[in-house]
């Protein structure tokens, strides 16, 4: 669950974005930017400020993506790839510029686990799910809220319609750029918090390119989760478990080729896409198309 938390947050954000027909490859950059923002924000030992700064950084990067991919209707894949490179370069340079060439031994306090009263006493499941750092509880909160937003409100209907029937929706007078902007900002905020979680709840420090592909994993999770909030949660746990196994094997000193375990979720995603793992899944029809 601990390794799954940032993945789930980022994936839930990307889920909303993709339902509106936008594929934000720049999520990797958003997570990395969120991590860096969290580092800056938490400089004065203020964890809340750290999470807020990570969130703002994510919003800012998502807005940059929106300017190009939504407002200027540039290609989403190209914009996203460029944003990833931009954030990787900027955070790397700023980090070395601000904290010295090595950046050694820069640690900031992390959030400890906060066991939830009562719930933690549930046998087996309790300690796993309810004795976690606060961001994990945010996942529990965000997933149902997003589900409700997407499936039980007019806004959600508009968003899903944009993702599936772009032309009809535009003809019927829905403001496509507006909704895409809203979903992008939601995705950016969640992606930023996901990055902040990496710094403030896990590593306690920043490293160049520390998002290490988690943004891309989150995109895989959205696919594997069949573009549904509950599916995304389950898929996050699967990916989280795969990378947790890696640490376990390393810690136990077992000579197991853990890289092969790391590859499993990606292979599963590909199989799921191809329809081998259960029902064939369909991406939102308008995914990747300019609004």
């Amino acid at each position: 669950m601990r390794t799954a938390t940032p993945l789930a947050l980022a994936a839930l954000g990307e889920l909303v974005v993709e339902r509106a027909g936008v594929i934000n490859i720049g999520l990797e950059g958003i997570v990395l930017g969120g991590a860096f923002g969290a580092l800056l924000g938490a400089g004065s030992n203020n964890l809340v400020l750290g999470f807020a700064a990570g969130c703002v950084a994510g919003l800012f990067i998502a807005a940059l993506f929106g300017v190009f991919a939504v407002s200027m209707r540039s290609d989403q894949i190209i914009t996203g790839t460029a944003i990833n490179l931009l954030v990787l370069g900027l955070t790397g340079a700023l980090y070395r510029g601000l904290y010295g060439a090595t950046g050694a031994a820069l640690t900031i306090p992390t959030t400890g686990s906060v066991p939830l009263p009562l719930l933690v006493r549930i046998p087996v499941l309790g300690p796993t799910f309810f004795d976690q750092p606060p961001p994990t509880y945010l996942v529990y909160l965000v997933a149902p809220v997003l589900w409700w937003w997407l499936y039980r409100t007019h806004a959600g209907l508009a968003i899903r319609a944009i993702g599936e029937r772009l032309e009809s929706v535009r003809v019927s007078g829905v403001n496509v750029p507006r909704w895409r902007w809203i979903t992008l900002l939601v995705g950016g905020a969640l992606g930023g918090v996901a990055g902040a979680t990496l710094v403030l709840s896990q590593s306690g420090t920043f490293a160049e390119g520390m998002s290490a592909g988690r943004g891309f994993i989150a995109i895989a999770i959205v696919v594997l989760g069949r573009w549904r909030p509950i599916g995304v949660l389950v898929a996050s746990l699967l990916f989280g478990a795969a990378s947790a196994l890696q640490y376990l094997f390393q810690a136990m000193g077992w000579n197991v080729p853990y890289q092969l375990f790391l590859a499993i979720p990606y292979v599963l995603t590909l199989l799921a896409l191809a329809g081998f793992a259960g029902r064939r899944i369909e991406a939102p029809a308008a995914l990747g198309r300019a609004g």
């Binding site: 944003i83 490179l85 900027l90």
Partner: protein
């Protein structure tokens, strides 16, 4: 989007339009490059670095002298040119191969495996066989995405990204498992036999024959895209897949599959060349994201193979110069990654208007024509 032009009109204007398009692509690329460097200068000034010294170092480390040009810029440019070509031809056909990085890794791994297993037995033939093995490896990796696309309708954007990570994990496993050097101390393979090393192109430098292969590939692809039926089919699909299928009776599935295979082969060749020309062994981090930088390389070149040669060298220069910038002016070298990104974003912003809009719009817009554009 303009309507279909009459055939005679198109043929008389073809050359004029081609030259105009080249000029506008070239001009745009130059303007964008200069703007990005100006941005870098300002950013360095603001960050408190000696910006003039840094840019001077960038120049000295890339084009400033013969050794820097040949031994760093062009060596660095080689994989960028090849992966840039891989991306350019795929994008030209409207195939979103984001997986050049994974294809490069698999190519490098297969070339190394072949070299270590049979390098001594094969003698002089080992090098060409290893290069072919690299290309085959890359093509197979891209072939997975091709099958997923044509048989199962999986978006290649997503599948190639997934395959990048699978390839990374695969190489990580190989250098710690079957291909690890005998002492098992480092995550890397043994060195490949000496007769498999690519010979140096210019004596006294580190520039190897791989660069010449890259130049040849660019020339051949430029000619093929321009003058062959296959090249025409690729361009037709990229412009409008439905029109190509209905009016041109182009087998879209077969052509996109072939383009993906060729694209993967080029990226795999880049990997094999890195192993046999630069590193002489397989490392986990043999690619510092060449396949991703390649997207910027291809776009800045307007997806033109000869243009890729130019932008590949430009990006090779940036990355080579970045190292000397870090040495001399202690500017972090990763900053050039941001410069590369700024190049792409500026290009996107500027291609919104002006003549160059066609160059990018041709493929970016072709995939997603909106009703306003279609009307």
């Amino acid at each position: 989007m303009s309507g279909p032009a009459p055939a005679a009109d198109a043929s008389t204007n073809r050359w004029r339009r081609r030259i105009a398009s080249w000029m506008s692509t070239g001009t745009l690329a130059a303007v964008v490059a200069v703007l990005s460097l100006a941005l870098l200068w300002m950013a360095l000034r603001l960050a408190g670095f000696d910006a003039t010294l840094a840019l001077g170092a960038l120049w000295r480390g890339s084009f400033g002298n013969w050794y820097a040009l040949t031994s760093s810029t062009l060596v660095r440019a080689t994989p960028l040119v090849l992966t840039g070509l891989a991306v350019a031809i795929a994008f030209r056909a409207g195939v979103w191969n984001i997986g050049a990085d994974g294809q490069l890794l698999v190519g490098a791994a297969l070339a190394t495996a072949v070299g270590l297993a049979w390098g001594d037995a094969l003698g002089w033939a080992a090098l060409p066989i290893a290069l072919v093995a690299g290309a085959v490896g890359g093509a197979c990796w891209a072939g997975i995405a091709a099958v997923l696309r044509t048989r199962f309708g999986v978006l290649e954007v997503i599948s190639t990204i997934m395959l990048n990570f699978v390839a990374l994990d695969l190489v990580g496993y190989l250098v710690r498992g079957p291909l690890q050097e005998p002492s098992h101390a480092y995550p890397q393979s043994n060195e490949i036999p000496a007769q498999m090393h690519l010979p140096f192109l210019i004596p006294g430098t580190r520039l190897h024959w791989g660069f010449a292969l890259g130049v040849c590939a660019a020339g051949i692809l430029w000619w093929a895209m321009r003058s062959t039926a296959a090249g025409f089919r690729v361009r037709a699909i990229g412009a409008n897949a439905d029109a190509a299928r209905i009016a041109g009776r182009v087998d879209v599935a077969r052509t996109t599959t072939r383009v993906l295979l060729l694209s993967g082969a080029l990226a795999g060749l880049a990997g094999a060349i890195e192993v046999s020309g630069v590193t002489y062994a397989l490392y986990e981090n043999i690619s510092p994201g060449y396949g991703y930088t390649a997207i910027a390389v291809a776009l800045l070149a307007g997806l033109d193979p000869l243009g890729v040669l130019g932008t590949g060298i430009l990006f090779g220069a940036l990355e080579a110069g970045a190292l000397s910038m870090q040495r001399e002016a202690s500017v972090p070298s990763v900053v050039v990654t941001a410069v590369e990104a700024a190049l792409v974003l500026l290009l996107l912003a500027m291609s919104r208007r002006g003549a160059a809009a066609r160059v990018i719009g041709r493929f970016a817009g072709a995939r997603s024509p909106s009703p306003e554009e279609a009307l």
